[in-house]
């Protein structure tokens, strides 16, 4: 069973969001990393990039497949996790911690409220079987 921390928000495309003051930390869920298997490359957006909600903004690539990562809400990229460049396996080992992808300053601070909470995400995974 994959981990779904109760204090995070989630998207249907398997990103997670953590509120950190006015900013959001974004990554991919334990379920997503588990499905993809060993990560070998991560392509991150440039800091300063403005993203629309649902916009493709990063690529995670495992031995098995490549997958787009989508912006959970609209906003500006303010930092990226450069350490993943040399250690993409961190995404497998610690998807909710050291494996974060980027930080976003949301255009609308309230937009995060529209994302799934942990129980809704858990229900989504259950429905995907």
């Amino acid at each position: 069973m994959s981990k779904i921390p109760g204090d995070l928000r989630y998207t249907k495309s398997h990103e997670w969001v953590r509120e950190a003051g006015a900013d959001l930390v974004v990554g991919i869920t334990d379920h997503a990393q588990d499905l993809m298997g060993d990560m070998v490359f991560v392509e991150l957006p440039k800091p300063g990039t403005r993203l629309g909600a649902g916009k493709e903004c990063a690529v995670v690539e495992s031995v098995k497949a490549a997958s787009d990562v989508y912006a959970p809400v609209a906003g500006e990229v303010i930092a990226v996790n450069e350490a993943l460049g040399d250690a993409p396996e961190t995404l497998n080992a610690d998807p909710y911690g050291e494996g974060w992808l980027f930080k976003l300053r949301p255009s609308d601070p309230a937009s995060v409220r529209a994302l799934l909470d942990a129980s809704a995400y858990e229900a989504l995974l259950a429905s995907e079987g």
């Binding site: 070998v40 490359f41 031995v63 098995k64």
Partner: protein, 364 residues
């Protein structure tokens, strides 16, 4: 639900991610396919390969029959125990399967064929057995594991019986021996030292557990694929199938035209060779970050080619693949791979293998 090997419960208990492979529920990995890959290159790993099918070919006409149905010539097998790799072809020279033939006695050969085409292979062999004094018997009662890696032999010394160890120690590469009910072969699909064991299905779980207790890592199909790709070995259904001949699949070395031996597919292969302009299968190395994917297009000065197998090489930390390219393409040539969103990745053709016996064999 697919077919299950006798080790299915072991895989589930070990929390393997199970996938369909050729109609079988098989372990893809037990947590990390890259860790399993490194375990085989550096220490030892054990693979459940019981989905592959052993088929006995017995009878006074066994040798003549196999000389007719296989593109390689079993007359190269002069000493019992010796093995031969080769292809089963159709009349058009297309590859029905690739397989290993073990010569066990003058009237007894054992074939080990791939899981997916196994049933068709058996029907094909039986369909061409008329006129030969031969009996073809599949052995679903046997299970098979491959123990591979530099420490495989050491682990075997603590798992196998004294007689089995003695037999294994005396085996040269591509040779097999039968000790009691145990079939031991110095063959594999990883480019490392090691061996394969065929035993009665009831005995395989004990064998599996004993190797793991000796520190041999269970390894899944994911690691098996990256290991064989680094070792430059073809995968049936990807690098060749019935639409291509062995001459366009890097397997010309497994086709024996010596003498006037008549074998199925020979006339078609001779026509193809005479026509010239055959494509070739070779290796591909990405110059930068990325993962090569099967089906991607390769472009060079010589025109387009296709990736037949692609992945990420854990030993090289680079994208590698096998590619089928036009006749004019030479190893060392620069080329491009078209990525999944149309991006262009710089690459170079290289002669496989990429890695064997833990050593990198190409210039990065």
């Amino acid at each position: 639900m697919g077919h299950r090997t006798p080790l299915y419960e072991e895989h589930v208990k070990a929390l393997a991610r199970m996938v369909d492979f050729g109609g079988w529920d098989m372990p893809l990995h037990y947590g990390s396919q890259i860790a399993e890959h490194h375990a085989v290159r550096r220490h030892a790993g054990i693979f459940d390969v019981s989905h592959m099918r052993a088929v006995e070919v017995r009878g006074a006409g066994a040798r003549a029959f196999l000389r007719y149905v296989l593109a390689n010539d079993v007359d190269k097998l002069t000493v019992p125990g010796k093995a031969l790799y080769g292809c089963l072809l159709d009349e058009q020279g297309g590859v029905l399967d690739d397989l290993i033939t073990y010569f066990l006695a003058p009237d007894w050969f054992r074939l080990v064929v791939n899981a997916g085409p196994a049933e068709q292979d058996i029907a094909w062999l039986r369909g061409h057995a008329g006129g030969f004094d031969v009996e073809i018997t599949p052995r679903p009662d046997l299970a098979m594991v491959a123990v591979q890696g530099p420490s495989a032999e050491d682990a075997a010394s603590r798992v196998l019986s004294r007689e089995e160890c003695a037999a294994l120690a005396g085996l040269k590469p591509f040779h097999a021996a039968i000790v009691g009910d145990t079939f031991l072969a110095r063959t594999g699909y990883t480019g490392e030292a090691g061996f394969e064991v065929l035993v009665d299905a009831h005995r395989v779980t004990g064998l599996w557990r004993r190797f793991i207790a000796q520190g041999v890592a269970p390894a899944g199909l994911g690691a098996r694929d990256t290991l064989r790709l680094e070792a430059g070995m073809n995968l049936y259904g990807h690098d060749m199938d019935t639409t291509v001949s062995p001459l366009e699949s890097g397997l010309a070395w497994t086709v024996s035209f010596a003498g006037d031996r008549e074998f199925i597919g020979r006339p078609a292969l001779l026509r193809q060779r005479a026509q010239g302009g055959m494509r070739r299968l070779t290796g591909l190395l990405l110059q930068g970050p990325g993962v090569v994917r099967s089906g991607q297009i390769v472009r060079g000065d010589w025109g387009p080619g296709t990736v037949t197998s692609g992945s990420f090489s854990p030993s090289l930390s680079r994208g590698i693949g096998l590619v089928r390219v036009p006749a004019g393409a030479a190893d060392g040539d620069a080329c491009e791979v078209v990525g999944r969103s149309g991006q262009i990745l710089g690459a170079r053709l290289v002669a496989p293998p990429f890695v064997r016996h833990g050593r990198v064999l190409i210039d990065l």
